[in-house]
Symmetry: D2
Subunit: 273 residues, 4 copies
């Protein structure tokens, strides 16, 4: 449909030994927040067992209310380091302040810039000074054009390793937490060189909608997914309502594999750091 001659070549981004934007589809999974070492380890084991390639886990959390759980902070970093080694799996954590770059640099395989920080150009400029991959989430009311320009704050600094992550935009609809904009994914694939992944957990905020939106994301041409999982979602310290338990995640991976085979875009092999 689109003229493939005009499509920009996709930047292949290496996260540990996992390539995002290449021949394989990539799944990032993990808990919203790292709650303890045991919690993070068993969640990572389950993610890996079901075929996830990269582990996610929040350590410094941005929460709407100052009274909500703000993450484990520096203790979380030490946990992340040990779990990453134990599982031999690359890890992505959200960075919320440029002064965290040093602490994060030798622990994470990819920096996550969250939706609330997409316009934090100070942070983006400094991440452009590193060579480490940056997963840049779309601001929840960012124009596609603004999002692409935000990515340019990183690449202009000399770091080409940017992955975009669509996570839903704010609309008037109330049934879902956000409105997943899959046309944005297809548009970016057709018009830029950035790999794009989708976060159906935040996009919907509804557990039952994660599976169909994961399949739809793959069909729309996304390069990967970011999925929140938890051993016991109903007792999670943050956002449990949008986390899958391990069995649900395993079912999702099974159905996803079938679609990916049809699309000639098989899941990447289980990751090694």
């Amino acid at each position: 449909m689109t003229n493939s001659m005009e499509k920009p070549a996709v930047t292949k981004v290496e996260v540990g030994q996992v390539t995002v934007g290449g021949a394989n589809f990539v799944v990032i999974a993990g808990p919203c927040s790292v709650e303890s070492e045991e919690h993070f380890l068993i969640t990572g084991q389950a993610a890996k067992r079901s075929g996830a390639n990269i582990l996610r886990g929040g350590i410094f959390k941005l929460r709407t209310s100052p009274d909500s759980f703000q993450g484990l902070g520096k203790d979380g970093l030490a946990i992340a380091k040990r779990v990453r080694q134990e599982l031999a799996m690359p890890i992505v954590c959200e960075i919320t302040d440029p002064r965290q770059i040093g602490d994060f640099h030798d622990i994470v395989d990819m920096f996550q810039v969250g939706s609330r920080n997409m316009y934090n150009y100070s942070l983006l400029k400094e991440l452009g000074q590193t060579k480490k991959p940056v997963m840049l989430k779309r601001g929840f009311s960012a124009l596609i054009e603004e999002w692409i320009l935000a990515a340019k704050y990183v690449t202009d600094g000399g770091n080409p390793n940017v992955i975009l992550c669509e996570r839903g935009i704010r609309s008037f609809e109330k049934v879902t937490r956000n409105t997943l904009d899959l046309a944005a994914v297809a548009y970016i694939k057709q018009n830029t060189s950035f790999p794009v992944i989708v976060d159906p957990s935040h996009a919907t905020g509804v557990r039952n909608l994660i599976l169909p939106m994961a399949l739809a994301s793959a069909a729309a041409g996304a390069d990967g997914l970011l999925i929140e999982i938890h051993p016991d979602p109903d007792n999670a310290l943050s956002d449990g309502f949008q986390a899958l338990d391990f069995k649900q995640f395993d079912q999702l991976m099974d159905k996803l594999s079938l679609i990916l085979d049809t699309l000639n875009r098989p899941l990447a092999p289980t990751a090694v750091v």
Copy 2:
């Protein structure tokens, strides 16, 4: 993921001899506006040849400006009647005023209620007095809840044959004409008995985005698609920028078939009236 025990049974809606909401996926295709008998006939032939099940064509158009082309009106109805017989294919046309019901009744196989009329409860109540299928498009800023209640205006009147059609909602994003809300499709499938189809042409308003959004719709669980096609999109009397030409439509149907096979939801056989 969802507990299938709790899912409402899907209403199967018969449009001519085509079942929407049943074991097969259904594709409705045709021009935005019927421009002439020859135009509608060759477009219908192309639609059928590529595997579409139902033919669409606008006769009374709702246009933002009173100076835009308003459709052929009653002349269009006579054309629609002849083309339907010639192709032996069920037909759906948009109705814009309850007083058109009589004229439409013996010609169309399904009434289309457009996005601008979703809140036109006078019209919906009277369509509830017929037994003919009604395809109810989502208002472009309607809450899912309002849309379901609008459908209830039809079913409360005694006509259970309602198909919902997601066609994008209005958001701040400007690259696309509307923002396609596929989570709404999955939500309705999980929580109501209405079949749901998707119109990626209006949802995106961008020709190159129609194919990936069509595939994503199927993967999200939609029961069918509504696609605008035109023999010469660049010279269409309305909305040519979002129409596929016949070759593009044929390619879309090929890729769609592969996904549908994986989903165990094959395309319905080519339609007969």
Copy 3:
């Protein structure tokens, strides 16, 4: 600030003997729905006593749910006729179907086209065939440009007597029912010849916000207001949460008068039919 040489001359619309768009500011008040003759009469008396110029009252209601109160219908028209004569006050009622024009024509002094019908071009075209004033509410997600073009469906038919009514647009914010767009009022005053009034009741859906938004509307340059009042808001049959009681309305009119004097735009004298 704006160059008054470029401003289009405002169309003066006569509603009974009340001029909208002229030297005076106009207040339309009344209940959301006419509930009974007594209810409508005492509400109209209170409106008049506090200085309102035109009486409003809903007879055919458009409700999101088919199970909600739908208005008194034809019985309501007879009540409206008697109350209008009793109070010698012009009246505006919402019309929801073109087939009601005949019944309404000799009873109401102005047709109201509600937000849900702004895109009902069949209705607008037929109102263009009358000479009676039309108050056209903005669709709750209509672009200003679409709203102006909808008004043109009426004026193109030969009826220049159109008043626009801003009533809030749908946004992501949840504290208010809609988001009042006062810049739209100023924009229309500067760029078109239509008088514009504001409905702070629907715009906010919050009783305590009606007074400040009424004052802001006057300061923004609106030609008038549409305010919902009720003898006993907590027991209203529809939308009581956004109605003022008579004392609150009287206080609003007092504060409004002060601002209007400063703006050299005094309230119109109490109306006569």
Copy 4:
């Protein structure tokens, strides 16, 4: 209308010797960006001459594109310091990174946190460690509730001196840059203790709409205004389309004074540091 017994007492915030949230209305004016010392000085003189109380000027700019003018940076701070002394007028500048606090602290009388940084909780927490006033702009798609909670990140740290600034929210409407939400101003006045001011320049992005929205803001109950002015708007280095020239600003102040007198909320006297 509202029960004044329930209203929280307004926090009075001292900016230099100007009180925001007190008996007087306050006007902050100045250029979008400080372009040179001469430019800032003559703009400040004009602001003061017309009655503005506080001077604004951007030094570190957050621009959507990395290729746009990014502000004078540290050179700008030195200019700001000299102009502030010359004019004996308090000054507010936007801070974009917590590491700027030290440099800004002895120069500005108030920190501005821009719309893009409303969710930058790192920055807000550190501003809570100072005692200097913070003007917190609403994120352009922030819920009122999220905005209030963001302010709490500052006050929880021990700094009660927070002023909120409504600057328009993102909606589907395209005529204006944003949609000014004056109901938010009234809501916050009725339900919190924060002073609230309005920025009609960013809210509309249309020069001709600034005057009517300034008057409407005053009538809605705002405690002040933030207005962009420039000696030659058509040649401004940033956002000239939404700046008033000095004559237009003077006319605005004249009309504003009349409304403020009616509201018993006279303009604060011309400021001294």
